[in-house]
Symmetry: C2
Subunit: 319 residues, 2 copies
């Protein structure tokens, strides 16, 4: 175990080589993260008690083997599907994420995508930029948000904020989640298929796990129907992308707002020409304001660890 | 005055020739609107007590001269800057608009444009469609809506709904309006310049009149500042468009979401290449759902008139 004298160097950065990164918090806190190019790297790698995982850099068993003294894995993103939680549990390593630091951004973006798909904002912008307004005069109408039934897949920190934002638009809000929440006024459906059957749009914002992989499958898309809209700001693999593309290309789904994809940065090329699809490069939670929030949470977790205080946003590995 | 026997034919359609129009309500109500191509048009024109103005078709003194018996002008849009209200007042003609029938759509679209500009939704979509994600990897970050000061120019039926929608996003909301509203919790500024000075974004949703023409001028844009965002879903002439273009091109304004322009369908070509501008072809209030609402209001106003009942959404010509 490191003692108080060497905890200055007891945390280390873990990142995919192509994942460029600056250290906005390095000057604020009590450790000095280093990079593989640093000549001291092998020493710190062998002694680090904290591993800071940058963005979605994978942290699997073979990576963990490089950090024999690690006690805490600090994620810098809200999601943690890139971290092998079972392996961490087996090694008695604790894990933190940034908790709800990015949740408002995620919820805002979900509303932005939903409005954009329904009201065809991006498509209208493309129409005008192409010089078509004076030629074609009018643009196909979108649909109104008010009165629609919006189903939220995962009423966690993002989903709850999505619901709150939807309320003044006059939507009927329902959700599915692992458990029914006693405190919320929205209708609960025990599974996503029932939710889809009773929704005009679905907003997918649950965590990705073995249980939620392809939670939006062919049956769910069929239940949502021809005018249904899918917004995904969670993870690409929550949706069976091949099926989604088939439904969109075949006109069996109304539209989609997609911030995430199964094989980023690859986007199915069939989507690139559809006017009822809004695509963005996994940026729902990336604003400078939220990044600063996230870095504060990262710093607070590391500081708490070294001061033996409770962690701020520890992931329950026994759930 | 027409009597009860001829009121079936006592209403007439007035529209710009290029303004194509179908008659969704014709089968529901007690009159039969007709078109200039109808051989009976001269008869009806001379006897019509109600003139139905389609969309933004101008209705000035020379047009009113064609309808010597008109007592009521029924607008089919929310705005009424295309109707010469002073002339109607002088001729003792009453005027109705569609009131708040389209207001929810307008408010929804304003939020959509604000989120789109702030979070760069359309620009990100363009980025991905251009195939740049695998090449450039990341896209410039947008900004967070929460914590921002949003100023609403005109707290009428749309502005009020915009404010309600903004509340759960965690914005600080302020407004300027002809009068301070006693019932609302938002800060009131007596003029738009003070509002702009104290806002990060402005949402322009007041009616266009002589008093509000170019209400967003050079001084207001300067007060809003380099990171400021303008959303205009009102009328193009509320904004001094030449100045707006200068500010955007020169980087003196953060961005703009524009549904309306001074010389529609012409859009200043300088805007068409800017990534911080979202453009749409005057469609903020056009959804089938709201169009149906609007037509219900039109029908109700005409019916009320012929039944000598109070009009639903009469414009106060003495304001």
């Amino acid at each position: 175990m490191a003692n108080n004298n060497n905890h200055l160097y007891a945390a280390i950065i873990h990142r995919r080589p192509d994942f460029k990164f600056s250290f906005p918090w390095a000057k604020h806190i009590i450790f000095n993260p280093i990079e593989p190019s640093d000549p001291l790297y092998p020493v710190h790698r062998a002694s680090a008690r904290v591993v800071i995982v940058i963005g979605p850099s994978p942290l699997k068993a073979e990576h963990l083997d490089q950090y024999p003294c690690v006690e805490l894995v600090v994620g810098t993103s809200a999601g943690y599907d890139h971290i092998d939680l079972a392996e961490c549990r087996a090694r008695n390593i604790r894990v933190t994420s940034t908790g709800s630091a990015y949740s408002e951004d995620g919820a805002d973006y979900a509303i932005g995508l939903l409005l954009d798909v329904l009201r065809r904002v991006s498509a209208a912008d493309r129409f005008v930029r192409a010089g078509l307004w004076p030629v074609k005069d009018s643009y196909p109408l979108g649909n109104k948000l008010g009165g629609k039934r919006v189903g939220i897949v995962g009423l966690g920190s993002i989903g709850t904020l999505v619901a709150k934002r939807l309320e003044p638009f006059g939507c009927t809000i329902a959700y599915t989640s692992r458990n029914k929440k006693s405190q919320v006024p929205y209708a609960f459906y025990p599974n996503v298929l029932d939710l889809a059957t009773n929704s005009d749009s679905l907003i997918v914002c649950c965590a990705l796990s073995e249980k939620t992989h392809h939670i939006i499958n062919r049956d769910v898309l069929t239940a949502l129907g021809k005018n249904g809209i899918i917004v995904n700001i969670g993870r690409g693999a929550l949706v069976d992308e091949k099926e989604l593309v088939k439904f969109l290309v075949g006109g069996e789904l109304g539209g989609a707002g997609l911030d995430v994809f199964e094989n980023e940065p690859e986007v199915p090329k069939e989507l690139l020409t559809l006017d009822n699809v809004v695509i963005s490069p996994h940026k729902a939670v990336l604003t400078p304001e939220s990044f600063a929030n996230g870095m504060e949470v990262v710093t607070a977790n590391i500081t708490a660890f070294f001061l033996n205080k409770p962690l701020l946003s520890e992931i329950n590995l026994y759930d």
